[in-house]
């Protein structure tokens, strides 16, 4: 096992380098560059700036430069935001992480319970209700559901803030600050949860449906175990195995920022940065951010593989 992990770990390095090159080329292939995004520039000025930013060099040279800087720990400097990429991302990424992590928690908890109950009570009214809900949520784009929630909770009822992360001009600290932020988090988290809980519920439901018909569930019943422990212990653990893989996939999602949700709720997350960096071709930001996500993806997959092997005893042997 250790050997496997080590081997798998080593593999990640060339994969990461390969990916970084691929992504670099990809961005280089994008039509237009940062300079193009400003139509006001005169061509001379544009040429001057291109030289200044090194955008006129061949891709390979630029990549090598970027890569050596990266190895030295220099993630570059945002053209658009005029500040080091690390400090830029640092400002926004944790806000995204906050709502993503909280909603991840809710998503999994809710999906787990509804999925399991739906499966156990297949075709009951609860199952039907959940199914309808899941697909209704899936049939409307997120901005729509967002607007709905804002209108209802923030405007009509006035119990939740309309957007943002803090009250305008607020100077709260510590606990009060925490409370304030949590209040602002409610709606975006609800949206994010709503968006992803559906599919996960379906996954759990199917997994459970398979498992509850197995012989060992009958054995568990024969032991006189409580239904709860039969379902949530014996069945769930088997049904969860495939989901472990899904959980590891969520890793990059924690940091990638939810573009639309953040936009609607004016949440100061990294989603907007990402979109702007892309439309202005702010390569340093794009590269660093994408590489961060790639890294997390690859790590996530790696974790998925090893947790899967660790959790499913059947796979370990050979």
């Amino acid at each position: 096992m250790k050997q496997y992990i080590f081997y798998r770990f080593l593999q990640m390095i060339p994969i990461l380098i390969g990916t970084s090159f691929l992504i670099f080329v990809l961005f280089a292939l994008l039509p237009g560059d940062y300079i193009d995004s400003n139509p006001k520039l005169t061509p001379e000025r544009a040429q001057e700036l291109r030289e200044l930013y090194g955008l006129d060099k061949p891709i390979l040279e630029r990549y090598v430069r970027w890569f050596t800087d990266l190895v030295k720990g220099d993630f570059g400097f945002s053209l658009k935001y005029q500040e080091p990429v690390t400090s830029l991302l640092n400002k926004f990424i944790w806000n995204s992480f906050l709502i993503a992590a909280v909603s991840l928690f809710f998503t999994w908890t809710i999906a787990l319970f509804t999925g399991v109950i739906s499966a156990v009570k297949q075709y009951s009214w609860f199952d039907g209700f959940v199914t309808l809900g899941v697909f209704a949520a899936m049939s409307f784009p997120s901005f729509f559901i967002g607007l709905l929630l804002i209108k209802f909770f923030a405007v009509d009822l006035g119990i939740l803030p309309i957007g943002g992360m803090i009250d305008t001009g607020s100077n709260t600290t510590k606990l009060a600050y925490l409370l304030e932020v949590s209040k602002h988090m409610v709606l975006p988290v609800a949206i994010l949860t709503l968006l992803s809980v559906g599919s996960l519920t379906r996954y759990f439901r199917t997994g459970m449906l398979e498992v509850v018909r197995q012989d060992y569930i009958r054995t568990a019943r024969a032991k006189g175990l409580k239904e709860r422990s039969i379902i949530f212990k014996h069945a769930l653990k088997n049904a969860l195995l495939p989901a472990i893989t899904l959980l590891a996939f969520e890793l990059p999602g924690l940091f990638s920022g939810a573009i639309i949700t953040e936009q609607i709720f004016n949440w100061p997350g990294v989603g907007r940065i990402q979109l702007e960096a892309l439309s202005f071709r702010d390569y340093p930001v794009l590269m660093s951010f994408t590489m961060l996500l790639s890294f997390l993806t690859i790590i996530g997959n790696f974790l998925a593989d090893i947790t899967y092997a660790a959790v499913d005893p059947r796979i370990r042997l050979k």
Partner: protein, 306 residues
């Protein structure tokens, strides 16, 4: 005296012709009311989209400022949009694109994902390594820039914009397999340790058969879930794609871009006829595919009570 007792050779005829899997599935499906209503709705949706326009007087109607945003009326059953076009007619026309895109992309991505995942999990070793590392790379390539590049390339190649959505959906399926493939692979990894796969091995069955007849049917429930989720996803993401010029180009309607057109609060509050119909259409489609899928799963599940 009747000797209807059954012994040695009971109804040899009844047994001699096999009930094909499909026929059996169909027979079981038929008994499942929910699945049948799903099928019915889906067919109705298809008929609505493909045959419906023949009955609409508004198929060729043009932008009409005097009819802007009219609420539902006797002439326009679902009202008109901001160009004064009949929403009902557009809903039908939109269905043609959305249904095709949704279903085609679902079929394609499920096919690719499950086959590659099953192959990786089944063979393990080097094939698995290569496929999974490829998956790693594909998964870490950011979607948005890739789409922009594709858009630029398609525009460079002067591909007619009507076809772009199909090309894009094809490309997306071609690169979008890693998620499903990993899921499938995980399942296959534990399935392949089951004695019945060893049995297939002993019988000298070909790998193709082992994968397609023994492994994949056992992950069918998972595939069905993914498939239904995919349809909804594809229908909605089509409209997201049109922001990048990769979806259908306006004025061609799709359900997704019809909802998106109502992206402000005023439409939201005051003109529900703009967004409820496409949303409901997507909902109905997805739910009916899901009902059908559930029914199919139950029909294919030998242990299901009938």
């Amino acid at each position: 005296m009747e000797t209807s007792l059954v012994t040695d050779q009971p109804q040899k005829d009844a047994v001699s012709k096999p009930i094909s899997l499909w026929k059996q599935t169909y027979m079981r499906l038929r008994k499942n009311k929910l699945a049948i209503s799903g099928l019915f709705f889906l067919l109705a949706m298809i008929a609505f989209s493909f045959i419906g326009p023949l009955f609409s007087p508004y198929v060729n109607s043009t932008v009409n400022v005097n009819l802007m945003n009219h609420p539902p009326s006797a002439e326009h059953w679902l009202g008109t949009d901001k160009y004064g076009r009949d929403v009902l007619t557009r809903l039908m026309l939109a269905g043609q694109i959305s249904l095709t895109v949704g279903i085609a992309s679902m079929v394609l991505s499920v096919l690719i994902g499950s086959v590659l995942g099953a192959v990786a999990g089944f063979y393990r070793g080097i094939i698995d390594q290569v496929l999974m590392r490829l998956a790693d790379i594909l998964m870490s390539i950011p979607g948005l820039p890739l789409l922009l590049i594709m858009g630029a390339i398609l525009s460079e190649w002067k591909t007619p914009s009507e076809y772009r959505i199909y090309i894009i959906m094809l490309m997306l399926s071609l690169i979008g397999w890693p998620g499903l493939a990993r899921l499938v692979r995980g399942q296959v990894l534990s399935l392949r340790e089951q004695p019945f796969i060893q049995a297939a091995q002993i019988l000298g069955l070909s790998d193709k058969r082992k994968i397609f007849y023994h492994l994949i049917p056992n992950i069918f429930p998972l595939l069905l879930v993914v498939a239904t989720l995919n349809v909804a996803g594809a229908i909605l993401s089509e409209s997201a794609l049109s922001y990048l010029g990769l979806g259908v180009t306006p004025p061609t309607p799709s359900w997704g871009n019809m909802i998106d057109a109502a992206n402000n609060l005023v439409d939201f509050k005051k003109r529900p006829w703009l967004w409820i119909p496409p949303g409901a259409a997507i909902f109905l489609t997805v739910i009916s595919i899901n009902l059908l899928g559930d029914g199919l799963r139950d029909a294919l599940d030998p242990k299901m009570k009938r």
